[in-house]
């Protein structure tokens, strides 16, 4: 793929090239600016910020705001820091990502390799899930969670995110498996492998790229979700995003901007990390099947 990109690059003169890089650099700087502001201000004492000069590098370097945001900042009524909420988020995100990805893979497998009457209609309906706005389902979902006795629990949130994510993960896996050779499935059938054996032994080991796409997509979406977290979480199951909001919005005392900046970075770090670790597979997986070879 990289070879092809090189070959198809349009050859341009040196002046044009310099200009292109200059513009790109400018845009990059523009986009990096918020991150710069956040990082710089999160390692300053508060008086440096309130004294003006948001753009300046810190005169006194301190990690105090980070420590405070993590373990002792006032969130709601308790001075717990973001730490317990971070774990709430992890406890919600990890099972939700795993379950929705596995179910998406199973759906994709059935929709492409065990075709049945009306499967395309069913798939079309599942695609609707990708377009339903969050707000519409809030009240019915709250009622359902209440009926199931899962209101205000982490597992309730996991369920909500799994249900909401299945549309996307099914889409990814279905399109990926659509180009997976059916002869392999037939060969495995003749070899005596059953439905799940084919799934585990033949299909899943070849699903690396699309699994990465699904995991990154789901992880980012669920981690960053605020609305469901704010609506359905109980006091002891609130995710990081809700806690961050509570930290920043608290109306008592001095606004500790440096702590807020540190908290915001903390809340964004996991998704950043996931993307850096698996990002190159993301593009590769999204492109899979679209280009031959």
């Amino acid at each position: 793929m990289s070879l092809a990109t090189q070959d198809s690059a349009i050859r341009t003169g040196r002046v044009t090239r310099t200009l292109i890089y200059l513009v790109l650099l400018l845009f990059a700087l523009f986009y990096m600016l918020p991150l710069y502001v956040m990082v710089v201000n999160s390692v300053k004492p508060l008086d440096e910020i309130t004294g003006g000069g948001m753009m300046n590098l810190p005169q006194v370097f301190t990690l105090e705001p980070w420590a405070k945001a993590w373990s002792s900042a006032q969130i709601g009524v308790d001075p717990t820091g973001l730490k317990p909420y971070f774990w709430n988020s992890i406890k919600m995100v990890v099972p939700a990502v795993i379950v929705s990805t596995v179910l998406g893979a199973l759906n994709g497998y059935v929709l492409t390799k065990w075709r049945f009457r009306g499967d395309t209609i069913l798939f079309g309906l599942m695609l609707f899930a990708c377009f339903i706005p969050f707000q519409i389902v809030l009240i019915p979902m709250a009622r359902m969670l209440g009926l199931m006795g899962m209101a205000g629990t982490t597992w309730g949130l996991v369920l909500v995110h799994v249900v909401y994510g299945i549309g996307f993960t099914t889409l990814y896996f279905r399109n990926y498996y659509a180009v997976f050779p059916t002869e392999l499935i037939r060969a495995a059938q003749i070899d005596g492998a059953g439905f799940f054996q084919i799934f585990w032994r033949i299909l899943l080991p070849s699903s690396g790229p699309i699994a990465v796409v699904s995991i990154i997509w789901q992880f980012t979406n669920i981690w960053n979700d605020f609305l469901f977290g704010a609506s359905f979480a109980g006091a002891d199951s609130q995710p990081m995003t809700v806690a961050l909001n509570n930290l920043v919005q608290s109306s008592t005392g001095v606004k500790e901007y440096n702590v807020h900046f540190a908290g915001a970075i903390l809340a964004a770090l996991p998704t950043l990390l996931v993307y850096i670790v698996a990002g190159r597979y993301f593009v590769r997986g999204l492109m899979a099947g679209s280009v031959k070879g």
Partner: protein
């Protein structure tokens, strides 16, 4: 009752019948080739034997056991696919033993069976590699190994050579033939290549439009084709088929065909019953290799007819020279020796081996049987 019976089997998708009342029966150790152009239903029939497609009506029996509705893995068959269908995530060894593992055969036995097959196919040095690191011919061997290791009743091959380049294809063809002779297994083999069909098979089923046009030994198919389709599909170059008239001379039937300038040529038939067609039109079938120069005519034939006609094109192919002429208003090809003295535009005295000529009813396109 044969070893494999396909008994009045049909296949329909909804209201559309794609395979019509197929009736084929073969004995143990036979090599059956299903041959025909694409879309003729040959792969569908193979998939029905494998159990990958349901049987709409009729029965398929292996060793007198009815296979309708039996799961593919319970039919004791093995299949080699066109794309080889090797599991990309497993090594060659794991690929070969996967079927045994799924059938719950203990590991030491699996290893032993794998070693035997690897030795037979000379792929011992490949056992730890992944399929992605193999060449086309090697993948082909592994695919056959995976089928062989199961020791099945029937082997099914679905166009296994069509992904190989020309030279390798000929080598693997010989290889498959050797294997069949050595192991004496029963094989059903699908191909669209009539040369593969002729060289490999002990029995050929020529298929077209969802019908089995003819079932017979390669010799029967080649020498006594049931109809014009079979006659022109089998053989390369194809059999020449041209309109002709039957005329009687001293009670003996002759075929009267128009030469390039419209003058009639009379070619005596060896087939006496054609006398009944006196004065009527037929389609005359002559294989290219039965039109030769005088010296190369088959000495064992009792019926060599001379015919002088103009050559339009010559195509030297090294071992043979293909000569095109106009006969009965059609382009007719003769397969001559490479050193035959032929020149385009010149008149040439051909010898036609009429013993091998066949006549077809122009209405039904069926051969007029002797």
């Amino acid at each position: 009752m044969g070893f494999l019976d396909i008994d009045n089997t049909t296949k329909s998708y909804g209201a559309v019948e794609v395979l019509h009342q197929v009736h084929i029966s073969i004995e143990e150790g036979e090599f059956l080739v299903l041959v025909g152009p694409s879309g003729c239903g040959k792969s569908t029939l193979l998939n029905m034997i494998a159990g990958l497609e349901e049987i709409s009506s009729g029965e398929i029996r292996i060793k007198d056991q009815v296979m309708n509705g039996v799961h593919p893995s319970k039919r004791n068959i093995a299949m080699v696919f066109q794309s080889y269908a090797l599991y990309p995530n497993m090594t060659v060894g794991q690929n070969i033993t996967f079927g045994l593992e799924m059938h719950g055969i203990p590991k030491p036995e699996r290893e032993k069976a794998m070693k035997e097959v690897a030795e037979l196919l000379q792929i011992e040095q490949l056992l730890d590699r992944k399929p992605g690191a193999l060449s086309g011919g090697q993948r082909q061997r592994v695919a056959m190994g995976r089928a062989l290791v199961r020791d099945p009743d029937v082997f099914l091959f679905d166009e296994p050579l069509s992904n190989l380049d020309a030279k390798l294809r000929v080598d693997m063809r010989t290889e498959i033939k050797k294997l069949h002779q050595k192991l004496g297994t029963t094989i059903v083999y699908v191909t669209h290549d009539q040369i593969e069909a002729m060289t490999l098979s002990t029995r050929i089923a020529v298929m077209y439009g969802g019908y089995v046009q003819q079932l017979g030994t390669p010799q029967e198919i080649y020498d006594s084709p049931a109809n014009i389709f079979v006659a022109t599909f089998m053989g390369s170059p194809a059999m020449n088929v041209m309109p002709a008239k039957v005329a009687l001379k001293d009670g003996r039937p002759f075929a009267v065909v128009e030469l390039h300038d419209g003058t009639p040529a009379e070619l005596p038939f060896s087939q006496d019953n054609l006398a009944a067609w006196d004065g009527r039109g037929i389609m005359l079938g002559i294989r290219p290799e039965t039109i030769t120069d005088e010296d190369a005519a088959d000495r064992k034939s009792s019926n060599i007819a001379p015919m002088t006609n103009r050559i339009t094109v010559t195509e030297p192919a090294g071992s043979d020279t293909f000569v095109t002429m106009t006969l009965g208003g059609k382009d007719v090809i003769a397969r001559m020796r490479s050193d035959a003295d032929v020149r385009p535009g010149a008149d040439f005295k051909f010898s036609v081996n009429m013993e091998k000529a066949v006549a077809f009813d122009p209405e039904t396109e069926m051969r007029i049987a002797p």
